[in-house]
């Protein structure tokens, strides 16, 4: 247990038998071990359950009917018992010091609600798209800030204030949560350290996104605008300039 409370790791997975073991190994190799690892199998039809069963001594497996990754993450939040919850995707690899570095931030900042680390993409050895992706998106070879669902370490109590992830969002549920958390005054810190290796492969769910599937972000924006406008007193006027324009 860390000095700031017990740590639960929540890993939702859907048909992830190919990479789950590597991901779990990287969690189990943390320099600051987690107190609990919860894998939520979101109705997989492949060998995910068998892979998870190999970790029965170290991992708690929760199974549910397929409901999407936000719902699976929410299940992980409610099933876990830690004071702090670390999220990660089932195909990504945790840096050995991920939890130690993020816990340090909570030790140094009593007001911190959520710490998000940077991510470095890597191309899975069997991926067939490396060359094309390199050519088209050079920026993807550079580290970039993660999102709560990928590299977030979150104080459990903030979910009481902000709520859980929106199951209705197929994509961008992490960004929507962060917008909502910001509107509720949550303290979110993005640290520059790269603490997660994000696997790029032929089956990444996020590769199937299209701009017309950005409804999650559009809905998040609309809800945030409505929240901010509702928060204004009748004597105040709403000025976009005050919002940083």
């Amino acid at each position: 247990m860390s000095n700031v409370g017990r740590i639960s790791c929540v890993v939702p997975v859907f048909n992830g038998d190919r990479y789950l073991a590597e991901s779990l190994d990287s969690i189990l190799a943390q320099s600051l071990p987690a107190d609990e690892i919860v894998v939520v199998d979101d109705g997989s039809t492949d060998g995910t359950a068998e892979v998870a069963a190999r970790y029965v001594d170290a991992v708690r497996l929760v199974r549910q009917e397929n409901a999407g990754s936000p719902a699976a993450r929410n299940r992980g939040v409610t099933e876990s018992r830690g004071d702090l919850i670390a999220f990660g995707d089932a195909d990504d690899l945790w840096h050995p010091d991920r939890l130690a570095r993020q816990i340090e931030r909570f030790e140094q900042r009593a007001d911190l609600d959520c710490c998000i680390a940077h991510v470095q993409n890597f191309w899975s050895p069997e991926a067939t798209v490396e060359k094309e992706m390199d050519l088209r998106h050079g920026d993807f070879t550079l580290p970039h800030a993660g999102v709560i669902t990928m590299t977030g370490l979150v104080r459990r109590s903030i979910f009481d204030r902000v709520g859980l992830f929106l199951p209705s969002l197929r994509h961008h549920d992490g960004q929507e949560w962060q917008v909502r958390a910001r509107d509720h005054g949550a303290v979110i810190e993005v640290i520059p350290e790269v603490l997660m290796s994000r696997r790029v492969h032929d089956g990444n769910e996020s590769r199937r996104r299209r701009a017309d599937e950005s409804e999650g972000l559009l809905a998040a924006i609309k809800m945030s605008l409505d929240r901010r406008r509702a928060a204004l007193t009748p004597t105040e006027s709403y000025s976009p300039e005050e919002e940083g324009c």
Binding site: F14, N15, I116, V119, V129, E132, M133, R136, H137, D139, F140, H144, A145, G146, V147, T149, M150, G174, Q175, Q178, V179, R182, V190, V200, D202, G203, N204, E205, S206, R207, R208, R209, R210, A211, D212, S214, E215, L217, L218, A219, I221, K222, S224, L225, P240, E243, G244, C245
Partner: protein, 142 residues
């Protein structure tokens, strides 16, 4: 060059737009900036975003709000220019007759005012998190 027969479409694939509760929201995923348009602007976007030309849009707006078609055209054209300047839309090559879109209800709608496009930058950093991976047409379902 804009004229009455110009039709618009969102600049793809990094721009997305949707009208919710009469308010049009745009996001530019490349810049992280987002935009909102009030009820009149939202109604104009419902029309412009469904392949109506500037002229067709103006005519329907004039009918809906009981204003002169010339005034409606001035405002529609000004809005189209702003959307173009912000690189949210581009002229479309669509030539077919526009379908009749479902316009927001006029219940509770206020009087006509020239539409405003508000731009917000406060979430640019947030929306830059976890940028979408490149989209490839052959990506298999998992």
């Amino acid at each position: 060059m804009l004229n009455g027969s110009t039709r618009l479409q969102v600049v793809g694939p990094h721009v997305a737009a949707k009208v919710m509760d009469g308010e049009a929201i745009f996001i530019n995923l490349a810049s992280g900036m987002y935009y909102s348009m009030d009820e009149v602007g939202g109604t104009m976007w419902v029309l412009l975003g469904s392949d109506h030309s500037l002229e067709e849009t103006s005519r329907l707006i004039a009918e809906r709000y009981g204003i002169a078609e010339e005034r409606a055209y001035e405002d529609v054209e000004a809005l189209a220019r702003k959307l173009l300047e912000e690189e949210l839309v581009q002229p479309s090559s669509a030539e077919s007759a526009a379908p009749q879109p479902e316009l927001p209800s006029t219940d509770g709608a206020g009087p006509y005012t020239a539409p405003e496009l508000s731009r917000y930058e406060d979430m640019a950093e947030l929306f830059a998190l976890d940028p979408p991976l490149p989209e490839l047409p052959d990506a298999p379902a998992s």
